[in-house]
Amino acid sequence: MMDGVNRLARKVPTWVVYLLGLVPLGYLIWGAVAGGLGPDPVKAIEHALGERGLQFLLASLAVTPLRRLGLNLVRFRRALGLLAFLYVALHLTAWVWLDMGLRFGEMATDLTKRPYIIAGMVGFVVMLPLAATSWNGAIRRMGAVAWNRLHRLAYVAILAGVLHLSLLVKVWTVETLVYVALALGLLAVRLVPKAGRARPAGV
């Protein structure tokens, strides 16, 4: 069964993932233009963008554990990661521009005093080098080992992301707990010793 899925996945071009990943953004822009985002479109946009960022980050972090289960989606990992970065960057832009209304003084205070803002900003900043080294040439120049090590910053990004969310909510909700559990779960499975190490190289 898994082989069939893998064969199918190999046939899907990566641009399909990019395109599908942009659908929620298109939907949001359409909503903003058509006035379908409710009484507080700013919060709706901000939340939707942040949530998509978390979701794509979680999806990109699920690729490796899934591979250990036999499902190979590694071809799509870059697309998932870049989509995560896009949504997080737009989420930040929405905060700076639409939510805070470019009140830079207040934002500066927030950045020094508010743990949830600091956590969110840490998450964004650690994603910058990941996005910047997301092209093939960067992997070649850095070497796979160094590149892989750098890209462990994605672990910091997801921790910062769910911390940002947890610090922000007024009461715990099932939704928040699911995000936190998924993030911690995806990081925890990386601590499990790899099975199948004994297999011959190249398999």
């Binding site: 409710g38 639409l98 209304g101 508010r114 009461v171």
Partner: protein
Amino acid sequence: RIEAAPSRYSTDAKPTALEDITSYNNFYEFGTGKGDPAKYAGGLTVDPWSVVIDGLVDKPGTYDLADVIKGQPLEERIYRFRCVEAWAMVVPWIGFELAGLLNRVGVQPSAKFVAFETLVRPEEMPGQKSPFIDWPYREGLRLDEAMHPLTILATGLYGEEMPKQNGAPIRLVVPWKYGFKSIKSIVRISLVDKMPRTTWNMLQPSEYGFYSNVNPKVSHPRWSQASERVIGSGLFGGRQDTLMFNGYEAEVAGLYSGMDLKANY
């Protein structure tokens, strides 16, 4: 339409659209989403409705809603409304002064505070299935705050009966405090001698004090209260500065003279 006299306490700011006031609500009894109350409050039975008035009063009892309202002069009060989450609206409430009701039931001299409770009816209020909040929702005021002429019990808005998602059939409105103090769908009013426990204070005492007066100089521990977004101002509406006591400083600052508002947040 409800007949209500205009009030000198009304702001001349433009009221927020009815649709926004009735579709953007924090009323966790129906869910934590802002749209949940509008979605789920339709099934709430608001008639019959009664309010228990007890504690340190001369005439305690279970009062039918009509009896609670009886004889109280209804006014339209167009008030600024400021949520602790740093957004704001302007709401044309219809209601009467809480003092009018308290005077009618006779407050005994030993009473120092007023405690309020919201209905608990999980079969009609799906949010009450959440274990994260210790229901009923509770709020409270110091007696002088409760007796202040700005403090009203509201039974309508925009000239009509109170929509269910806004706290039908009767709710408190205290315009100089963060919105969560203005408890909705009240079923109990108790006059007490000690500061009552209040829901958000029970949930997070370091963040939500008993007073919770709107104060741009005292930050919420997690966010600033210096400015607010105005609901209905669109995508690029930006923010406006938050006013001390939500703009009611002239009327209510005297209630807190000599008090450290940072310590008594």
